[in-house]
């Protein structure tokens, strides 16, 4: 009799974060091998972008990563601006920062809910996704859509803030900070949470560096790396923030890092609103999008997403359409290089929780 047996997790399975499939081989209750099977969300973004004008891609790029679309817009805009040599107005930089951080906040709140969900604590999932909804409404106020903002575009941002928006953001931050106490009480300080996550899915510092981890995984393993600090974009260089690090590299540490960053992000938004120039242009003059061309060249623009380094490698051949855009999603490496290795030796019960803990975002892998 065969000792091991196979189990498909996904694509139709609540334990998988999105439309993705994971083939695991189990021996009893222990995983002996895990293989990811991507492609369920493949929409050929990179191909589609080659056939569209630079500005038309605005409609495509947010869809590369659904939970946090703004990073795509920012990275794309930065790549185009870099090729064109455009400097964006000061106020636009701050607005970008606020939007990006708000998106990060929204993503982390939902992520907390997702993690709680995999551990069977649906209350927090209900709360946090509900609280994230207020952030979506804030986005809707400035750009007109809840999820696909298409707000950051080459040259700056698409519209100035609406009057009083900053105050709404600040009051949301106050609200969320109060709610975070509840989140801590029910989940992060919960003894069961500690019990389930301590020592699970450990990625040590050496492994993290060797495997090319970025973002919270790397920070949880003890390496203070963050694009916002190392290669500041938008208005991050004017803001005062620290990169949190922990040393254990386990699921618990990663959750803590994200909780910590969530608080950092809230503080950064407050800072940015305080420091932002109150008036001024929010978008540089750009050429006619139907004819406007981008000079020939290659560039790599990167931003810090909630999952790690998110980058756009862009090649222009001097026409109105990009010659090649390659997207680097953090999850690509995190899934295939890290998760597949880390999952081995885990219990079945921890599989889905490990995936969420590494924050695998399938659309980013498939593109």
């Amino acid at each position: 009799m065969n000792k091991s047996y196979e189990l498909f997790i996904g694509p139709n399975h609540p334990g998988i974060p999105g439309n993705f499939s994971l083939k695991i081989e189990l021996e009893g209750d222990t995983v002996v091998s895990a293989k990811g099977d991507p492609g369920y969300l493949h929409r050929a973004f990179e191909k589609a972008m080659e056939g569209r004008y630079y500005i038309q891609n605005l409609a495509l790029i947010p869809r590369i990563c659904v939970p946090e679309p703004d990073i795509n817009e920012a990275a794309y805009a930065m790549a185009v601006e870099d090729l064109m040599g455009v400097e964006i107005p000061e106020r636009a930089k701050y607005i970008r920062t606020i939007v990006l951080e708000l998106a990060r906040v929204a993503n982390y709140t939902m992520w907390l809910g997702g993690l709680a969900g995999t551990l069977g604590l649906y209350t927090l999932a209900q709360w946090s996704i509900g609280d994230r909804d207020y952030a979506l409404d804030l986005f809707s106020d400035i750009c007109g859509a809840r999820v696909y903002h298409m707000y950051i575009w080459p040259g700056g941002v698409r519209r100035d803030l609406t009057p009083g928006w900053e105050d709404s953001v600040l009051s949301y931050i106050r609200y969320l900070k109060n709610r975070l106490i509840d989140y801590d009480n029910i989940f992060l300080k919960n003894v069961m949470f500690k019990y389930r996550t301590k020592g699970i899915a450990v990625v040590t510092k050496e492994q993290a560096i060797e495997w090319g981890a970025t973002g919270p995984i790397l920070k949880a393993a003890g390496v203070a790396q963050d694009v916002r600090k190392d290669d500041p974009y938008a208005a991050y260089e004017y803001l005062d923030f620290e990169i949190p690090t922990l040393t254990d590299g386990d699921s618990w540490s990663r959750a803590m890092i994200r909780r910590w960053e969530l608080e950092n992000s809230l503080n950064m938004i407050e800072q940015a609103i305080k420091k932002m120039p109150k008036k001024g242009p929010v978008c540089a003059k750009m050429p006619n999008p139907l004819k406007g061309y981008v000079p020939e060249g290659e560039t790599y623009a990167k931003v810090e997403s909630a999952r790690g380094e998110h980058g756009f490698y862009m090649v222009s051949d001097g026409t109105g359409k990009p010659y090649r855009v390659a997207v680097r999603g953090a999850s690509h490496t995190h899934m295939f290089t890290i998760a597949e290795k880390v999952l081995v030796g885990q219990r079945l019960a921890d599989v889905s929780h490990t995936l969420v803990s590494l924050d695998i975002c399938p659309p980013e892998i498939d593109r």
Binding site: E6, L119, G120, L121, W127, N190, Y195, R347, L348
Partner: protein, 295 residues
Amino acid sequence: MVKMILIAIGAPLVAFAIGLSFMMIKRKIVARIQRRYGPTIIQPIYDVLKLLVKEDNISHGVIFSLGPIIAIAGSILAVFFIPMAGFSMLTGSGDLIALLYIMAIGSLGMALGAGDSANPNASIGISRALTLMFGYDLPLVIIVISVALQYHTTNLSDIVAAQANGNWTLWTLPLSAIVGFVVTYGALGEHPFDIVTAPHEVATGPMVEYGGKHLGFLMISHAFHIYIEIALFVDLFLGGASNILIFYLKMFAVFFIMIMFDEVLPRFKIDDAVRFYWKWPTVVALISLIIVLVK
């Protein structure tokens, strides 16, 4: 004789009604804790009825279909053993022991059916269910023994009678009562012991291949299940009740406290759950047993 038949029909109906009402109330309470309104109060009735009118066109074999039937049958049988508001159908010496056996029938029925569905998730779920049962049965048996020793009887009606005048086992054997509460949790599969169905892990486990009428039967069986486990607890530790209303209120109090914990605790892993049951509840149950023995 007529009375007997009426009770034979009525008792399961009442049990089902109570179980169903708890399902309804649970969804409302849970919704409130989760900061929302939740469904209409009679939503579970719609759910069950809808499942029953679904067109069932898939079968995995006789055993698969028989699973839910066995589960319901076992549950109804168990209902007869549990004194409900002062009377019970089948009483005799040793009914407590029989009950322990009968209560396993439901799980076994489900195990049979789910095992027939050839879905690995179902198999894992069933193995988890049996493992979990294995886990909580040890402390359960110990506390049942301690209670039986306390009252020198294995007749549930006698145990209830012995607790009259507020002389509840909860006060006389508090440690056993706590263990009993924890065991009831596991038996009902509430958080943190919803390991069997854990959607994120095994996609509702044993129920993964069930749909339509089968699922409807399973839901009905679950309603019975809620009734049985809590009624047993009430009978053993809260002195039963002489009238159905008080019985209901006592059950509700137990259930309410359970929901509170249910909604704030993440789930165990199966081995941890077994380890947990064999550690603290067992130790405490044993202490309680020793206390009884010493007394």
